[in-house]
């Protein structure tokens, strides 16, 4: 039901028709009301004051036109002038036709009789006007000569209306000082001030004592006559139309935006245009249409006889479609809950709310800041109180001294001030000392204990706290060192205890090996025992070394060592082992002799471990690169080789103790070699880095060069 397209189109089409019906009914109602007017008798009207005033007024207006050289002067058609009769509902229902006049003012003539007719002279015109089957009313040089006695009698009352008019010329334009809607600004003869009176006019006029229905009135009457038989139908159609419009309108409101096979509200690009823009544009368009079409019909006459109905209907439907567009998008937006979002005001509001939120946050921040500051002030209340009291006391004292001792008082004041400043600087220096102490601690140094006596009494407590903290801190470090040493000792002792039984194992395995055994399996087992006991031996030895090296628990015998010599010696040492695996060693050593400060035995251990790894884990028949480089004040040693096994392990992991390239730990070795090398390098202030790039295994060593 919601999604039925037919129903929707039907509603869209029917609504304007029903509304039109309502409009029509309303118009009919208005017309009918106009029709109900009081009938009047002609003889009574022509003898009434009402007619007389209208008549005289019209003449007066024409006189004005003449003086002001009004457009009308040249546009008058034969007999075209009328006095309308107003009904009691303020509408002109009747008119007096065939009203003629001839007004002569100085040498100018104004008449509604065509001068082209056979009335070329004024005499003839006067005659033409009076010979019509009508009554005459002439005003000549202030005298009224009328057939109607009433006019004759009453005309004098209106003379005043013909007298005195002022004009002013500004920039060749004559402006009236009196405001009369018919003659506000009319070109004049160039006279600056002008005055005239009834005596200056010669007015000849005539009228027929007969009332004629006005054109509008006729239309109403016709319309009502035609529609009256269906009046009952119309009366019923009004509520029905109203109800139907309401129902369809409500249906549309409910169904708008819902489309078959689509969930939610169907929105298009039009619905994304800010609603204000749509409303303003449509409002202007509709306003223009109404202004230029519907409102332009001055009366119903025009509306009915100049193709007005088609224009009216066209503009009506265009306006309706425009309004529909606005309504549909409005409803859709409300339903989709984007009315606010897709509008300028909405966006503005959102922006405002964000801004306000931000502002609020900022205010809150400032507030908390103030709060904290306030709290700090309260917390340090005693100090602040003391300082304030001191300041107050100082001023009072200074003032008293000045009063009592006059000039000498001023010098005394200065002394007091100097004393206070001295105290202040003393405290600041105390503060500085504590800060320096903490800074040193922060950097990991062990500054000497702060001496309480060096501080002012305000800092005594703080000094105590700081000393306590630094003592605790030092204790913690000492504890750490101690525990590390204990750990190493423990490992060393345990390794001694392991070594003794291990000696027996190794020896007896060796003895068994020397026995004559014919069992092949037994021989194999013995071989395994031999291998594993040897590994255990190596492991215990390395374990002690690793623990010592990593805890820094080694005695260094630092001397000046020649790196070039070391590399030559070590490569020579491993020549045979490398040859066994057919490893090609490519060394690059600079000619310049490079010295470093190190312990020669540990340096050998570092290189030995690395080389021993290479001999164990490097790919056979590959090349091993040993590069020694000097960069600034640093010697860099790079050892590169290709791993036999896939190195699915990270460099960091490999450095850890007990980790080996082959996770299965099938080959000999303790897995401590790299860890020991790294520790020993670092103990000697070197840098040890390990990189794994695919199968490339690279060790990078750095040491400081000494001259």
């Amino acid at each position: 039901m919601k999604e039925s397209r037919v129903l929707k189109i039907l509603s869209y089409v029917l609504i304007p028709i029903f509304i039109l019906n309502l409009i029509f009914c309303a118009l009919y109602g208005i017309c009918k009301e106009k029709f109900i007017t009081t009938q009047i008798s002609e003889s009574e009207y022509f003898t009434s004051d009402l007619f007389l005033s209208d008549y005289m007024n019209d003449l007066k207006i024409e006189c004005n036109n003449l003086i002001y050289n009004h457009d009308r002067y040249t546009q008058i058609q034969d007999g075209e002038y009328e006095i309308s009769y107003k009904s009691n509902n303020d509408k002109y229902n009747y008119e007096i036709k065939d009203l003629y006049y001839l007004i002569i003012y100085e040498n100018f003539v104004l008449t509604n009789v065509e001068l082209t007719a056979d009335t070329n002279s004024i005499e003839k015109l006067i005659k033409y006007i009076s010979t019509q089957d009508s009554k005459t009313a002439n005003i000549i040089n202030g005298e009224v000569i009328a057939e109607s006695e009433i006019i004759q009698n009453k005309a004098i009352q209106y003379f005043d209306n013909f007298i005195i008019k002022y004009y002013k010329i500004v920039n060749d334009v004559v402006l009236s000082e009196e405001t009369d809607e018919n003659n506000t600004a009319i070109y004049s003869y160039g006279k600056q001030n002008y005055e005239t009176s009834i005596e200056d006019f010669k007015i000849y006029s005539s009228y027929k004592e007969q009332l004629v229905e006005s054109a509008d009135y006729k239309i109403y009457k016709d319309l009502i006559k035609k529609v009256q038989p269906y009046e009952n139908l119309m009366i019923y159609s009004v509520p029905i139309s109203g109800i139907l419009i309401t129902i369809m309108f409500i249906y549309l409101i409910i169904s708008i935006g819902h489309i078959k096979n689509k969930e939610g509200i169907d929105l298009n690009d039009f619905d994304k245009i800010p609603i204000e823009i749509i409303f303003i544009v449509i409002g202007i368009l509709v306003g223009l249409i109404i202004y230029f079409t519907i409102l332009n019909f001055e009366n119903l006459n025009e509306c009915f006889y100049t193709g007005g109905i088609s224009v009216f209907l066209l503009s009506y439907f265009v306006s309706y479609i425009l309004c529909c567009l606005a309504m549909v998008t409005l409803i859709k937006r409300i339903k989709a809950k984007i009315l606010f979002k897709e509008s300028i005001i909405g966006n503005f509001c959102i922006w405002c709310s964000k801004f306000i939120k931000k502002l609020f946050k900022k205010i809150k921040k400032i507030y908390t800041k103030i709060k904290i500051t306030y709290k700090n002030i309260v917390d340090s209340w005693s100090i602040i109180l003391k300082i304030s009291l001191m300041i107050v006391a100082y001023f009072i004292l200074a003032f008293c001294f000045l009063l009592i001792f006059e000039d000498i008082g001023f010098i005394l004041d200065l002394f007091i001030l100097a004393y206070i400043l001295y105290k202040l600087f003393e405290n600041i220096s105390c503060y500085q000392k504590i800060e320096n102490h903490l800074k040193a601690m922060y950097k990991g140094e062990h500054p000497p204990k702060l001496n309480k006596l060096e501080f002012t009494k305000y800092f005594k407590n703080i000094v105590e706290y700081v000393n306590d903290i630094s003592r605790g801190y030092e204790n913690a470090i000492e504890e750490g060192i101690k525990s590390e040493r204990l750990k190493t000792e423990l490992i060393t002792n345990v390794s001694h205890d392991i070594k003794t039984p291990l000696t027996s194992i190794i020896n007896y395995v060796d003895l068994i090996k020397k026995e004559e055994i014919n069992n092949d399996k037994a021989k194999e087992y013995i071989e395994i025992l031999d291998n594993k006991s040897q590994r255990l031996k190596k492991l215990t030895e390395d374990l002690v070394e690793a623990s010592k090296a990593s805890s820094g628990n080694v005695k260094l015998n630092i001397e000046k060592i020649n790196i070039n010599e070391l590399i030559k010696q070590t490569t020579g040492e491993f020549q045979d082992k490398f040859k066994e695996k057919n490893l090609d060693i490519i060394t690059q050593i600079p000619n310049q002799i490079l010295y470093i400060n190190a312990d020669n035995r540990y340096m050998y251990r570092i290189i030995e471990n690395l080389f021993s790894n290479i001999s164990k884990y490097a790919l056979e028949n590959s090349r091993v690169y040993i590069d020694v480089k000097k960069e600034l004040n640093i010697v860099k040693i790079d050892i590169k080789n290709i791993s036999k096994e896939k190195l699915n392990i990270s460099a960091d992991e490999l450095i850890q103790r007990f980790v080996r390239g082959d996770r299965a730990r099938t080959t000999e070795g303790s897995g401590l070699g790299i860890s020991i090398s790294k520790s020993l390098t670092e103990i000697q202030n070197g840098v040890f880095e390990l990189q794994i790039d695919g199968d490339l295994f690279k060790v990078h060593l750095e040491f400081n060069i000494v001259n």
């Binding site: 070391l566 020669n600 050998y604």
Partner: protein, 232 residues
């Protein structure tokens, strides 16, 4: 027949050593603590003592000190303590050798042989006046015969190895770098030396040393050079 006293609180170790040494033709006497060791020494004619350090009642160090009070008998310390300080301490107190547990049997036997030989034979050779004979400890290079003997055993060296060893032994106690060795032995400027010298020295060590990793005579000072230790 030489009598060797083995002293260790681990009976199994003593037993194993006994087996090895008996095979080598030594008569082995056993003790299981320091006190027993002293008693045995007093009772018997002992030619060499293998002494453990960590023992109950009287430990190896105390025992060694006591022995040295009245005897110059060769003492080989045998300990699980492998730290440098332990070794230095032991050697300073008068031990002739220091073997760490777990030991290599061949090494131990070699050291025992060396100790016995020095104590019984070489010790009596005293000074050799021949100018062309160079010696340190039990390493002797006889330039007349072009032979090298260690602990009385002849060692076969290649001519280059021989020349290097002779040069170092001639100047025993002095450290020479690869370059210097090259210049002196080849009597030439060193240019493509690479690590030939280092390889040769490694080979020499393997031939003359009981344990090439812990050389007694041909010492390596890493990053500085090589030297022959001066031993009386």
């Amino acid at each position: 027949m030489y009598n060797i006293l083995v002293c260790d609180d681990e009976k199994e170790i003593v037993k194993a050593i006994e087996i090895y040494l008996t095979k080598e033709g030594y008569n082995v006497l056993k003790a299981y603590n320091g006190e027993e060791c002293i008693k045995m020494l007093k009772k018997n004619d002992i030619h060499l003592v293998i002494l453990d350090i960590m023992m109950p009642k009287k430990d190896g160090i105390e025992t060694l000190e006591e022995i040295r009070e009245y005897s110059t008998i060769p003492v080989i310390m045998l300990s699980a303590k492998s730290e440098d300080e332990d070794k230095i301490n032991g050697l300073n107190l008068g031990a002739d050798d220091y073997v760490t547990k777990p030991f290599n049997v061949l090494e131990l036997i070699a050291r025992v042989n060396s100790g016995i030989r020095r104590y019984t034979k070489l010790g009596k050779l005293e000074e050799n006046s021949d100018k062309n004979i160079y010696r340190t400890g039990d390493l002797i290079v006889d330039d007349n015969l072009k032979t090298v003997t260690v602990d009385g055993n002849i060692v076969k060296l290649t001519p280059t190895e021989y020349n290097i060893l002779k040069f170092l032994l001639k100047n025993k106690g002095i450290v020479y770098s690869i370059e210097q060795i090259y210049q002196n032995v080849w009597e030439d400027e060193a240019y493509v030396v690479e690590n030939i010298i280092a390889v040769h020295i490694r080979h020499i060590r393997e031939k003359i040393e009981i344990n090439p990793k812990e050389p007694k005579y041909l010492k390596v000072i890493w990053g500085i050079g090589y030297k022959i230790e001066k031993i009386d």
